[in-house]
């Protein structure tokens, strides 16, 4: 499957249109709340391995308790997450992705890829604002340190544009998985609706990036799966919010 800059640009505009239409609804809902590379350049599994390392770098000694091996135990003893907790966490994830795209943009030069990264970054900033509104006083306006370091590691190591796009692809898929996880926990109708309007956008970002990477569904089962899963979800236990 070949890709042209024209098709990429068209696709980015399409996703952007979808996103902006959705954000109209999101803004209304928030207002209501306030008034009331392809297979050739790695896989998500690789990203996750780096993510563990990144977390260790990010928060030092606390990683031992927050690391993946401790996640189950932590979850067993932690109080249930509230909608506000999830909103706060989601805001931090979105801001980490925004920061990651800023770094990615320093390594991208093909105009279509730059346009894509710029557009998607804008989406994530809007998502962060939406979640911040739901988080209310708990919002931190701070990028999630574990997610940020994990993705940054990938990007710093990326030797070329394809690897940069691959890191972005992994991140978008992780975000989509995260919101599926969140929808399983959320209770409020408004935040459920907003999250359900964001998840498809992350999935579309991932698909667009996968297309740009030349991924083939015949050889990469993660590219166009039959069902969205929580594989590679990011959780507050594994990626604590700063502060």
């Amino acid at each position: 499957m070949e890709i042209s800059e024209a098709s990429l640009r068209r696709m980015v505009r399409q996703v952007d249109d979808l996103h902006r239409e959705g954000m109209k609804t999101v803004r209304d809902e928030i207002a209501a709340v306030h008034t009331g590379a392809a297979a050739r350049v790695g896989s998500r599994r690789r990203f996750l391995r780096h993510a563990g390392t990144g977390l260790a770098l990010a928060i030092g000694g606390t990683v031992v308790a927050a690391g993946s091996l401790a996640t189950a135990a932590s979850a067993a003893t932690a109080p249930p997450l509230t909608d506000q907790d999830i909103a706060k966490f989601s805001e931090s994830v979105e801001l980490a992705v925004v920061a990651a795209y800023a770094l990615a943009l320093t390594k991208l030069h093909t105009p279509a890829y730059v346009a894509m990264a710029t557009t998607f970054s804008g989406h994530h900033m809007d998502h962060a604002k939406a979640f911040a509104a739901f988080a209310g006083d708990a919002a931190t306006a701070t990028a999630n340190p574990g997610v940020l370091v994990a993705v940054s590691d990938e990007l710093h190591e990326a030797p070329d544009e394809m690897h940069v796009l691959s890191a972005a692809y992994d991140t978008e898929n992780a975000a989509a998985a995260t919101y599926l996880y969140a929808i399983g926990l959320l209770n409020g109708v408004e935040i459920l609706g907003t999250t359900a309007s964001i998840l498809p956008v992350e999935a579309q970002h991932a698909t667009a990036l996968g297309y740009a990477l030349g991924k083939d569904p015949d050889t990469d089962a993660e590219y166009l799966p039959p069902f969205q899963t929580t594989d590679d979800e990011l959780t507050p236990a594994t990626y604590p919010v700063a502060g």
Partner: protein, 220 residues
């Protein structure tokens, strides 16, 4: 739309509009019983399944509407693949892949309805097929038309799934429906890449569920 929406009234023949490809299509949507005097039924599956769901009429209507659209999509793709308009191998492969995935979605939704004690819908949504899709199928004259139709179809399905989130009485079904909706969104993204249609604006606002989604019970 909440559970007090007119679309949830019993047995109402209601003229309404379905957004499809940016066009409001008037349909005589037969809204089945989505909310009635029948209390929710707690059903243990008859065999060894570990799944126990509370199958409210509203939940079953939401699930069966989704099933009807999954069957519709398979039907549409079958018709397209049987024709001669699509010659590009990439497009053919995507049609086949997405058709298969819609079959998987149908199977999963069907199992869920059965586990909830309901009767799964087994036909393409008759209202959407007859009044919305069939005219478009009849008018197809190029591969580009096919891609645009596929885009509109997937877009509508994704919006329908999204609209279901938060509406289920049984909250775990929120997860199931968006697991499927996210995949329809991925399909949509790929059709948009292959589509030559204007991108100056979203024809039917994918995230504005009241405008894009097929109302629960339509055509059942």
């Amino acid at each position: 739309m909440d559970s007090d929406s007119p679309a949830f009234l019993n047995g109402v023949n209601r003229r309404r509009f379905v957004m499809f490809g940016g066009v409001a299509v008037a349909t005589t949507a037969v809204i089945s019983a989505c909310r009635g005097a029948t209390p929710p039924v707690s059903v243990a599956p008859p065999t060894t399944s570990t799944t126990v769901l509370i199958g409210s009429p509203k939940d079953l209507a939401l699930l069966n509407t989704a099933i009807s659209l999954e069957i519709l999509a398979q039907n549409v793709y079958t018709q397209i693949l049987a024709g001669t308009l699509v010659t590009d191998p990439t497009t053919q492969d995507l049609l086949k892949l997405f058709q298969a995935q819609h079959g998987q979605h149908q199977d999963e939704l069907t199992r869920t309805v059965q586990a909830a004690g309901g009767t799964p819908f087994t036909k393409p949504n008759p209202v959407i097929m007859a009044q919305v899709v069939q005219p478009r199928l009849a008018a197809l004259s190029s591969q580009a038309d096919v891609v645009t139709l596929a885009y509109d179809l997937e877009h509508m399905m994704s919006a329908t799934c999204q609209a279901g989130v938060g509406m289920f009485d049984h909250a775990t079904l929120n997860t199931l429906i968006i697991q499927i909706g996210a995949i329809e969104a991925r399909h949509t993204a790929l059709w948009s890449i292959l589509s030559a249609k204007s991108t100056t604006g979203t024809p039917d606002g994918a995230f504005q569920t009241d405008q894009d989604a097929v109302s629960p019970g339509t055509g059942l």
